[in-house]
Symmetry: C2
Subunit: 515 residues, 2 copies
């Protein structure tokens, strides 16, 4: 049985608006905000974290990324709860604190600093300054699953000991086991006298047991969010924690209000769908950034085996380091870059005619979708193999067509499965390529690097049609990324245009005018 | 760190088809089945549980409730994995085993018996008989969170010791904490030499840590389902368990196949939406049947506070035992029972005219939705207050209108919140009522009991319109339940008919013919 030491009161902080903001870009409807504040105000929540306080950035972010004074005042008018805000340590300097914290006076009780272990020594001055302004101050130290790599933490911690009101252990990857949490707190108790906290993520569904373990191991405050709303797999669920707090420790909870509140956010969840899944579980188990893993798997159809092979052996993955580099017999001035859209099939006749008339134009395939349309042409053809494309592609070409092809795979990331034996002699990687460096795993970036490798001065696009209304989040992200790549190509002086109509913002010519 | 004793090999059983069947009524598309068997066949799964083997019941259930021989043969043709089936002990006798198990010979390796603690002594004969037929045999003992109430278990367990291949601890309510799991296994190790297993549910998100704790405490087999598909909050997620098994213990897992498999079931989840939520968390924490809690809260808009107050004090609930019983001045022969549908508003004029002309007809409101339509009429009006209806209703009546009203609440279940002071003198419960006994918490059942109490011989319905295409699961369940109540009322000899068109199967007359 759990055996929380009741000599110290346990505190609970709800950070739904801050961590949930990762899904809503820190915008919440006024109605939802009012309901949240009203209902949270009636629950055993000690602090409500309103959001980040941030310096101005150029991208749009909503109210709870900046938590401006009028918002703090508005919230203050709705509930008597104590408020917290959080600062992202790596984005601020000591001289920013006036601007960031003066508007918080009298409105905010607790100021938290989200800090990476490598920056912990830098945080002492900030914490002292914040404390001197009359706020409670907390350091939330991230990436707890990797702290064992940071042997220098102890010295910095000791310097913080007399300054902080709370020191939080943040399981950023959400992959810690309770025994590991207990061990971290055992160590911290030997170093710090300050109150300890735990902020758990739920990638491997350990947020609750880890939070309870933290409390059993000396923590006196934990964080949660309604329905676990938060980046990727999300956080400890406030409603789950309060249920256990009520059942095991008799803390009074109005479950009807808690249920209404969680129902409100379950509605929002229908739109955004936070919560764990296999890619997030893998991020948790291996302490990998979850957006990177999700992006590779959901957006690029990249191999989860390949992701895991980066950190541990799996034995069913091609090690790309052993793949020979691409070499060339001669330069190619012009390339037709073929994407996965529908236009190549629609303009079937004219494109084939254009390529037949211009046999010196090279073809780069960034997708396996339109391979058949050009399978029999004599033009030089080269394929960018992102993710598990090889599996799709291998049934689309005859052995004869295969002969003259080259398949370019990622220079860095390992590839899924063993390649079919018959393809092995045709697989290459490029020794350098600055687009691949910037847009890891993007097949379009790989294509541009190939064109550069052949010293091309022109890329014609077809099948880069853009996405329709109703596109998935992953599709829109790819769309934006491709747009950035095209913009950069133009900036660097290469001619790039689409030969059919497209939703990308790019020069367009007509394939019919080129023939 | 976890420290599984590697002297004994750990086995894993996937019971997606069996436990997932609770959502699909044990039907799965052929395509999904083929994909499941093919992919599960390539993962480190030791047993695949195909489903129940069951005696014929009258309700429809799909293939995986009966697991007929042709299905077992079909599955056997798709994978080399060992198969399990499960029998529901309370539904079978020794003499049923020929019919249930003869078709399994050569197809099924493991036969499991799902058993309630109260029946454990009965299971010895069954287990012996199954063992003698050449199957591996397992007893899966349910409701582990309540075993401490069953001090007689030890004797029965000892009799099973030499018979069983596996003895499973089933956390039916999904609310055990790891320390409790460890304690159960510590006790079992002192009684049984047989291999131990753990079947975890995920109501409070402890399925993984409990399964790992079980393995650390001597279990050698655990169960899971893909994406946790299973009744209510669902099970240990197979993909989560295999991720941890790979990361912590180096078990080989093909993550791309695992990801494809979990993606297939995530598609199915979009339709059925298993997984935990606050009502299921409460079921877990308090060892309450989750369907009952969900039904009360989601279907009846009943109070979660009231649910919890049944098992523990919460202090914000009206104790219904203290509410006076309904009494009457005289009998009322005819009632108009007004449901929550749209017809009362649509037929506004004619219904009011009908009631004005017949002031002796009583009005029973089973919903608060249409109260305003009749607020000013002089007819006797009585309200059935299910769940938290009082909260909705209290702003709909003037103090003057309130005077002659009666509000009837559940005889058994406590009510949410304190009633508004001004209502207190008008609240009653009925001392007897067989419909309420059969359909606990149904406002319609309560209404019929009220009509009976007043010795009515006729109930006219309005606002029981039935549900449209697109009705929620909860609405359809209420629809079916109301239909059963109407059928029973008719059978018992009371006149009952709808005065407007309705989708219920019930006698219909026209309100225009009655005026």
């Amino acid at each position: 049985m759990l055996n929380i030491d009741h000599k110290e009161k346990i505190a609970f902080l709800d950070c739904t608006l801050r961590d949930g903001g990762y899904y809503t870009n820190w915008d919440f409807d006024d109605g939802l905000l009012d309901d949240y504040l009203e209902k949270a105000g009636k629950l055993p929540i000690d602090f409500i974290e309103i959001g980040y306080r941030s310096k101005t950035i150029t991208d749009y972010r909503g109210a709870f990324y900046y938590s401006p004074k009028f918002l703090l005042e508005y919230c203050k008018g709705k509930t008597d709860k104590k408020f917290a805000i959080i600062l992202n340590e790596k984005e601020i300097q000591l001289q920013d604190l006036d601007e960031l914290l003066n508007p918080c006076k009298g409105l905010i009780s607790l100021v938290r600093l989200a800090v990476a272990p490598s920056n912990l020594s830098r945080v002492v001055e900030l914490a002292e300054n914040i404390k001197a302004r009359g706020f409670l101050v907390s350091v939330n130290l991230m990436y707890a699953s990797k702290w064992q790599d940071n042997l220098y933490l102890e010295k910095s911690l000791k310097r913080l000991n007399t300054i902080l009101d709370y020191f939080y252990v943040v399981d950023s990857y959400g992959g810690m086991h309770p025994s590991e949490v207990a061990e971290v707190f055992r160590k911290l108790k030997g170093i710090l006298d300050t109150s300890l906290g735990f902020h758990g993520h739920n990638n491997i569904e350990m947020a609750l047991i880890n939070s309870l373990t933290a409390l059993n191991s000396g923590a006196t405050i934990v964080d949660g969010t309604i329905t676990g709303m938060g980046r990727g797999a999300g956080n400890l669920k406030t409603e789950l924690f309060l249920t256990i707090l009520h059942q095991k420790y008799g803390v009074k909870v109005n479950f009807d209000i808690l249920n209404e509140l969680s129902d409100l956010f379950l509605e929002v969840k229908k739109e955004y769908g936070w919560g764990t899944n296999l890619p997030y579980m893998v991020s948790g188990a291996y302490s990998l950034p979850q957006n990177e893993v999700r992006g590779q798997v959901k957006k690029r159809f990249y191999s989860l085996n390949a992701v895991i092979s980066e950190v541990g052996e799996i034995g069913i993955v091609e090690k790309n380091q052993s793949i020979p580099f691409l070499n060339k017999k001669k330069d190619i001035n012009e390339f037709l870059l073929i994407g996965g859209g529908k236009t190549p099939q629609k303009f079937f006749g004219v494109i084939r005619e254009f390529l037949r008339k211009n046999p010196e134009i090279g073809i780069i395939h960034s997708s396996s979708k339109n391979i058949e349309v050009f399978a029999d042409l004599a033009n030089f053809q080269i394929h960018c193999i992102g993710g598990m494309e090889m599996n799709r592609l291998q049934h689309k070409l005859t052995l004869d067509q295969l002969k003259s092809r080259i398949f370019v795979v990622s220079r860095k990331k390992n590839s899924a499965f063993n390649f079919p034996e018959v393809y092995k002699n045709h697989i290459r990687r490029i020794s350098e390529g600055n687009f691949q460096d910037r847009y890891e795993l993007s097949a379009t970036a790989m294509a541009v690097d190939i064109a550069n490798f052949y010293k091309a001065n022109m890329i014609m696009l077809i099948g880069y049609d853009g996405y329709d209304y109703g596109a998935t989040k992953e599709e829109l992200e790819l769309f934006k990324e491709n747009q950035c790549i095209f913009d950069a190509v133009e900036t660097e002086g290469m001619q790039i245009f689409s030969v059919t109509s497209t939703k990308y913002e790019i020069t367009t010519r007509s394939i019919f005018s080129l023939i």
